[in-house]
Symmetry: C2
Subunit: 241 residues, 2 copies
């Protein structure tokens, strides 16, 4: 198999002989930044059809064309794990999305909690971070970044079949192990810096499908907690097993 250095997400159907159109940003990256020329080979994926070897057939300032040669790896979807987190600062929010994609979250849901002030997020920018992380980590799947939603509203319409692992700093020093009936879809909920409100904590503790978990004796920042919680989950129930 050809050893390629470049992986590119192209949201178009892929198959042998299929041609792919590059947009202006992709053309700039391939020709301007990476100095690729006609005949160059790279890996492409669309989040559904696995990874394909593709060859550059046309190059211009405003676009270009690739042709798919052969599939390099089959599509591999992550486990059915959502990551819910409360966005606060821009840089940390970007990092959480990047890390969620690398760690294998299937869906990323920014939530407003009682102690979160974020009124809006740049969903398109966060989605671009998820794409970039997928390109970098070698995965063939790109998690969707959902729009900002209030946690209370999300819980109102929650499917009880999806269990929730919620990381509560009030538990610092408690158990980090997952217990109970573990099969089926899951979500990890990372609290905001400043923690959950008493009302939120009481509601979460009352949900039969929600499990409070401790992430050690120190208080972790939200982005650290996201990676640590996904590690615990992936090792116990996910695709690290």
């Amino acid at each position: 198999m050809d050893d390629v250095k470049i992986r590119l997400y192209v949201d178009q159907p892929m198959g042998a002989g299929q041609s792919l159109t590059l947009d202006k940003g992709q053309a700039h990256y391939l020709f301007g930044v990476m100095r690729q020329g006609l005949g160059a080979r790279l890996a492409v994926f669309n989040g559904r059809d696995g990874e394909w070897l593709a060859e550059l057939r046309a190059a211009g300032k405003r676009g270009g064309e690739l042709v798919c040669l052969e599939q390099r790896t089959a599509q591999r979807d992550p486990p059915d794990l959502w990551l819910l987190f409360a966005p606060i600062k821009k840089a940390r929010t970007d990092f959480i999305v990047e890390k969620a994609a690398e760690m294998g979250a299937a869906r990323i849901l920014p939530v407003q909690t009682d102690f979160t002030n974020a009124e809006r997020i740049r969903q398109d920018r966060l989605q671009a971070h998820a794409v970039e992380a997928a390109e970098q980590c070698g995965g063939t799947y790109v998690p969707e970044v959902a729009g900002l939603c209030r946690l209370s509203r999300l819980l109102d319409g929650w499917d009880a079949a999806r269990q929730i692992m919620f990381c509560d700093e009030a538990l610092a020093g408690g158990s980090s192990a997952l217990a109970g009936s573990l099969a089926g879809p899951w979500a990890i909920l990372i609290g905001p810096e400043g923690g959950f409100s008493q009302a939120e904590r009481a509601r979460l503790r009352g949900l039969p499908f929600a499990h409070a978990v401790s992430l050690g004796p120190r208080i972790l920042r939200a982005d650290t907690a996201a990676v640590a919680a996904m590690t615990v989950w992936q090792q116990a129930l996910g695709d690290w097993q």
Copy 2:
């Protein structure tokens, strides 16, 4: 116990009635940024004597004075775990140091590998990040950030009693479990982006005290890998048990 909002690292001996001198930076933070006045109470720690409740006795533009009232928590040192990593980009390096302190590393060692170009690091700036992380995470210990050292030189003088968990992206999809005789001191070694060289990998694999571990099927960035590896270790052997 008084509920205090501010935690400050002050590198001076602490004890009941002990007075602490604030430097210009600490004075600016307490009086300028946090708007504290005489009589205000905060938590202080020096990395050795636990956490103390302290009261502001003098405030000026260039300094100030605190007095220790009573110990709030006893000193708690992390397990004897070192984190070795190859610094590349500034922001990621800062994050790794921050996360290592939050996750409970006892010592942080930046290393040069065959595929690392970093010639020098700002050790003082990285140490300041470790202090800030300790202030934020509620810990009473501040890990030392060592000077940059070549990995090969570090391994030449390695104490064989300290086992190494090395995270090798070439193992993607292998086991993330730690196996073997697990007691005693440990170090986690995170490879550089671009991976270890063949020579490094061969040497590490030949060391009887080094254990290769996989961190799942996707390739993680160095800062993500550092948190994930410390989670695996803390859950299995450290203070998350």
